[in-house]
Symmetry: C2
Subunit: 344 residues, 2 copies
């Protein structure tokens, strides 16, 4: 049981050298049809499979890339991870997924490659780590950052234009006549700047409409889960002035807010409009369905892998860091437009 045959075994059985077997497996050199067939038979009979560890040792590459995300159970990251795994397979790479849980130590450990280096490259969506922490790693390993920018210009970056997208979402609410618009999702405790950018877009849109953003309506959250959104919404509803619209920095926050509104008997979108961010599957099927900013996730996956491929296969590590802006669009659904009910 659990027998493993090597090139040598196959070679012995086929009566050729190990190198010839290697050539057959890789198609790397010319091999006569006759020999090829004989070798192939031996391979099949022995059930030979190449040993990837040996191959990697020789080649200096593993064919494995890492994906570091805060958590896999959150729909946005799960969807993104799925797309990345697919896209990686298309390039015959395997993906190792690591969850950092927004833990700075975990993110750092991953980046420094503690305990050994397996990955040819790394795609990371940093939360706890600031851009400066990423600098060292990017020097020794191709790194693509999702969302966060690397100041030294050592790693590529793929992200949506958060300010513009948030502005657009807020402007949509303004256009529908809302004036008392709160924002949920600030994360002052994290190094990550994404939330602040979205807040900036929200403020910008309000100011343009002649409205002064209320600081007490910039609601901070610990994480981006539904519970946090629910709690923030409850807080808003308990306030002296109640908003007539909410821009949540993630769909999960938005869905949590929606749940609280429903539980408190606040009618959405009549008494309260809600816009989310991410366009996760659940938002399409919530009641009412969720208006949201939809980043082109497939594009994120494709671009991130393209960046990685460029660096991994580049002879010198002299590529300038690219900063790719991903397309996004506002999808109007039931939480801002009463006319929308059916699922797409």
């Amino acid at each position: 049981m659990r027998v493993r045959s090597s090139l040598k075994d196959v070679a012995a059985r086929a009566g050729v050298s190990a190198r010839t077997v290697s050539n057959v497996v890789n198609g790397s050199a010319r091999v006569s049809a006759e020999t090829r067939q004989r070798v192939q038979e031996a391979i099949d009979e022995l059930g030979y499979r190449p040993n990837l560890a040996a191959r990697s040792l020789r080649a200096g590459r593993t064919g494995i890339i890492g994906l570091a995300i805060p958590e896999l159970h959150s729909p946005y990251f799960a969807e993104l991870a799925g797309l990345l795994v697919d896209e990686a397979r298309r390039r015959s790479w395997t993906v190792i997924i690591d969850q950092t849980q927004g833990d700075a130590e975990a993110e750092r450990r991953l980046l420094t490659g503690d305990g050994g280096r397996v990955m040819d490259g790394l795609i990371i969506s940093p939360w706890a780590l600031g851009a400066r922490d990423l600098t060292d790693t990017a020097r020794s390993l191709p790194v693509v950052l999702l969302g966060e920018r690397s100041p030294q210009g050592l790693a590529d970056r793929v992200a949506v234009d958060n300010v513009a997208a948030a502005d657009e979402a807020t402007t949509h609410l303004l256009a529908r006549g809302h004036r008392r618009i709160a924002a949920i999702g600030l994360q002052p405790h994290l190094e990550n700047g994404t939330a602040e950018q979205r807040a900036e877009g929200w403020r910008r849109a309000l100011r343009r409409a002649g409205i002064t953003p209320r600081p007490d309506w910039e609601l901070a959250v610990t994480s981006l889960h539904r519970t946090d959104g629910a709690r923030a919404m409850a807080h808003l509803l308990d306030g002296d002035t109640v908003p007539d619209a909410v821009f949540a920095f993630s769909d999960e926050l938005a869905l949590g807010a929606l749940h609280t509104a429903h539980a408190r008997g606040v009618s959405v979108p009549r008494d309260l409009a809600i816009v989310g961010f991410d366009d996760i599957e659940d938002g399409r099927f919530s009641n009412p369905s969720l208006t949201t900013v939809s980043p082109d996730k497939r594009q994120i996956a494709q671009r991130a892998l393209q960046c990685l491929a460029d660096r991994i296969y580049s002879p010198q590590n002299d590529l300038p860091a690219s900063d790719l802006t991903i397309a996004h669009r506002l999808i109007v659904r039931g939480t801002t437009d009463p006319a929308v009910t059916a699922a797409p």
Copy 2:
């Protein structure tokens, strides 16, 4: 840039042999405090990291296990994957995730280890592949099946008691006075037997209550997504007799059904009660929140990894296949009980 130092480099710098450096790294032999410190300094200065490919080649193990699931973007699998990754890290294993998309070829390719073997073991949740296909693989690689049973007894299996759980869910609906109970989620096109087991539990509960299960109320779906649930619900509402309750074989199906009910103006739970299966996060925050069968996902992750560990570290591959039944419980929420509204 992108320099990699090896044991040899460290050895040269510290003025010792490569073997001694190896000893320091692994703590495998006695090394004098003085030497250890000198070596450690050299390691730090050079930023040495052990080469895992070489280590694997030598040891015959990679420290990597595979996780094959149909799709990562589906919340149930995403949550489960997250738990498995966590649990694996606790055992210092890394997880490679592969999505089979319910594609028989993909599942088979993965199992036969086409293109080389990296994994020390595999946890697979088979859809397209029947149990018999799994037999060959399990002979050469430790395999744990999630849900499906291996007939030859070659692979371990971890699953909930689907029949009992479905029976329980249906009995709950009966206890609340429902009589016209439909089932959504049959998958006659798949080899996977899970759906059929849940259908069996549903039929059993109905019969015990003196009700003959209507075959036209066993609704088949292509996949377990919200859309499929929405479509099935629409079909039911268009029928001559309309059910007063629905048991959906997954939470996603249930949420899709809930969405359609809402869109059609059917009040849940007053006119229609709904029970799902999986206890995904979204169900806790839907409006109303979703009654569901909750399998102990953490237990699934722990047990699956325990099985794998047992086989990987077992000197002979002579362990009998274990068949572990995972605990589950019915969580009653808003879609069956009007008294429940708030999120837990």
